[in-house]
Amino acid sequence: MRASANRLALWLLMAPFLLWILLLVLLPHLDMLRVSFQVRESWDSLAWGLTQYQNFFEESYYWRTFVRTGVMSLFTTALTLLIAFPIAWYIARLASGRAKGLLFLACLVPFWASELVRTYGWMILLRESGLFSTTLQALGLVDGPVEMLYNDVAVIIGLVYNGLLFMLVPLVTTLDGLDENLVEAGYDLGGGHWTVLREVVIPWAMPGIVSGCIVVFMLTLGSYLTPILMGGKDSAWFTEQIFTQFITRFNWEQGAALGVLLLLLSSLIVWAGLRVTGQSLRKVMG
Amino acid sequence: MGKDSDLCCDQLIRRFDHMTAVDQVSLDVPAGTFFSILGPSGCGKTTLLRLLAGFDRPDSGDIFIRGQRMNDVAPNRRPVNMVFQHLALFPTMTVGENIAYGLRRQKVPAAERRKRIAEVLEQVGLPGMSDRNPQQLSGGQRQRVALARCLVLRPTLLLLDEPLGALDLKLREQMKVELKHLQKSFGTTFVYITHDQSEAMVMSDQVAVMRNGRFDQVAPPEELYRHPATPFVAGFVGDNNRLSGEVTRVSGDTVELTLAGGAQVSGLAVSPGLTPGQQADLFIRPEALQLQPTVTGERLSRLTAGVVTTLFDGANSRVELEVAGQTLFARLPQDGSWTSLAGGHPIQLSWAPALARVFAGATP
């Protein structure tokens, strides 16, 4: 009797989970994969084919944007890690009591505003008529308005800004759990700052680093608002092309193929990152 | 099984993958008894208790409570309550709500519930604490809340799983006495689990000594102390000295052993069928060892031992002695006359053979 009650409970709980994961995640992605292999012959007939993928490799615009997006996302992730680590270290290890809580809270605040609001803030700061430009003119450092928006640097500033929190939280959490005696022992046994950082602190923080990097990378790779609103004419982002195919051109087959490629890229890099650092998805995410 | 027994178990067996945690345990607890199960860590005490509470099922054997077979009764329908090893007070409820929990399940009306909560809090010595959070209480107070939560339901049988384990020494001593009083005033049958022999001795009417899933002996504390039935019980309950040697003479109840150094000692045979040439162990309590013979007429067993050192501990002061490579402890008299025994100095010990118990040796 107990065994059958357990089976019933298992199925009652398993059913919603399966419905969710199948209907909202797995099936749609499989369907996207299927559609990406279709070629439209006329308005109502489709055939199987690799045309969409061929287009991707033949049109240099596509794959250039693809590579550019990947490289810039990796760069942004690395930069975010570099910027966030000292801050996380300060919050986790050097700040004490109230200051610690307050600083952490201060890091959280920007993320209660949406990405759109954050990007908008940067636009107000950086554009030709923006705060920086006006200030520089008022100080007499430049003669005319300076445009700081619509270039790659602006995009990266915005992307790093968006990723910071997702890097800080896992870093602070893991560094918080570091036993200071380990660091002291590192110095005691004759290590310098750099050795201790490399041999003791970073290995300890690895799960947090990997977790933060994965999330930031995913967010950056998949971001749309920041590159569109802050990027220039020739700083296209791959998500933008997917969007164009779907919304402007109604070319779903091509859009699906580009989507599959982006998903492949992200899975590949996440997998490689996990492999290189010897972590598992379950450990860093769950 | 006795007619008025509250709890009766018959040949209970519970096996895990590689071991039998409870092995053919039978017990019979008369109503109103304080029954303790005493055994070293890992001997299967918690497993046995979980069988009684219904959280686990025996592989074979029967459980009866007040004559009713309980094997197929769900835990929430058994007339037993349990005080958990780590108390398991609900952290999301106040003390009052914790105590009310069982009453609510029995659909006791609110007014009576309040009355009974106030009453039971009074009885366990925590009047007016019902609005506190369990986290705000001291260890001993939490202990009492856990007890009140069960007692308020007036269970037939209360199971306690090392409830004093988490307390510090001083509090434990105090709670020991209080538990005994509470049990007497409520008249509830207690089945109490512990690995601390002093807890079992102080509180219980009956003690079962458990080892490797089996009961070695079930007896009142004093009998357990004076007449241990197995070498394990002799060694586990109370301080004891063990002298190993070879049986050289058996006359009636009395057995004579020859120790490695050639000294001869004698005691009462407990294991049946001891014969000369066999290895055997003699157990003698430290307080039964006399440092100077008092009654000369009696036939005493005598032994010369070397003093190693004296261990001063107030009323429990002892002297450590050595005989042919075996260590012995003897209780020092209270008058202070022996406190300056010098190391290496030989002294003569003697005892009445009736106080020493001889068991067949486990290994030849």
Partner: protein, 285 residues
């Protein structure tokens, strides 16, 4: 590097400077956004022309329409609230069930299914939106072509937006609730059974109250995530646009201080919700 190890004064000063710069970087965009919501000028830029509440209150008569009279933005706000409500409800309920499934039950393939459960975390939001669009709208197209049956539910619109957001927010709420359930002492449930509760009653009287702070936290998080989401939403909206999409469209037309006004309102609203949720959970924890 840690407090007990001596550092040079220069290092300390540099470190401090870095911290200050960092927090400036963090605060600056939000501060300007907030401040320009009250500038008495048609564009959110310097010079400062004086304080005004026009961008909230103006009724359009003087050529300015404040947020509270801007029907487009207000209805978008209402759409967002509705979407967020449904997303919160569904994803938190699913999160509870999933947490129990993965923390309490043993079944074959559990490790694998857990990894599958984490998948939405490593799928870019745009792709989630796209795949759901392709699957459901494609299905609606096929059905309409073959059987002349209109499945409007599956056309771009609010139901699809809710589905797209639920797809990934459920994973997050599952993680939050499962983390709390993992810390639950199973003996408490046994104690409840022992005191006469049935398993179902024990669940509702002991386990659920324990989970409540996590559920509140997950709900606040789900609401915020849904409200702020753009990437998944933009692929799935129909004629009713949620606030972020509406704001984006406005922004492309050109920025006005009304956008600052909305942005400030959003910041204050989400901060209030976040504080409420963390305050509640820290009180009961």
């Amino acid at each position: 590097m840690i407090r007990s190890v001596p550092r040079s004064r220069w290092f300390d000063r540099l470190y401090l400077l870095y911290l200050v710069a960092f927090f400036l970087y963090l605060a600056l965009p939000l501060l300007v956004t907030a401040v320009f919501a009250f500038n008495d000028a048609p564009f959110p830029s310097l010079p400062w022309k004086g304080f005004t509440l026009d961008w909230y209150l103006a009724d359009g008569s003087a050529g300015r329409t404040g947020l509270f009279h801007d029907d487009g933005l207000l209805s978008a706000l209402w759409v967002s609230v509705q979407v967020a409500f449904w997303v919160t409800l569904v994803s938190v309920s699913l999160g509870c069930l999933n947490a129990v499934l993965f923390e309490r039950l043993e079944f074959r393939g559990k490790e694998l299914l857990y990894l599958v459960m984490l998948l939405p975390l490593v799928i870019p939001g745009v792709i989630l939106g796209v795949s759901i669009l392709v699957f459901y709208s494609g299905m609606a197209n096929t059905v309409s072509m073959r059987w002349q049956l209109e499945l409007d539910l599956f056309r771009p619109g609010l139901p699809l937006v809710v589905m797209g957001q639920v797809a990934f927010i459920t994973t997050l709420s599952t993680l939050v609730i499962a983390a709390r359930l993992r810390k639950f002492d199973r003996q408490l449930e046994e104690a409840a059974l022992n005191l006469g509760a049935t398993p179902v009653v024990a669940w509702f009287t002991v386990t659920l109250p324990w989970l409540r702070p996590a559920i509140a936290g997950a709900a606040a998080m789900a609401f915020l995530m849904s409200f702020e989401n753009f990437n998944t939403t933009v692929m799935l909206t129909g004629s009713d646009t949620p606030l972020t999409v509406a704001l984006f469209n406005r922004l492309r037309e050109g920025s006005t201080p009304v956008l600052n006004a909305v942005a400030l309102l959003l910041m204050v609203g989400s901060a209030a919700l976040a504080v409420l949720a963390t305050g509640r959970s820290s009180k009961t924890a």
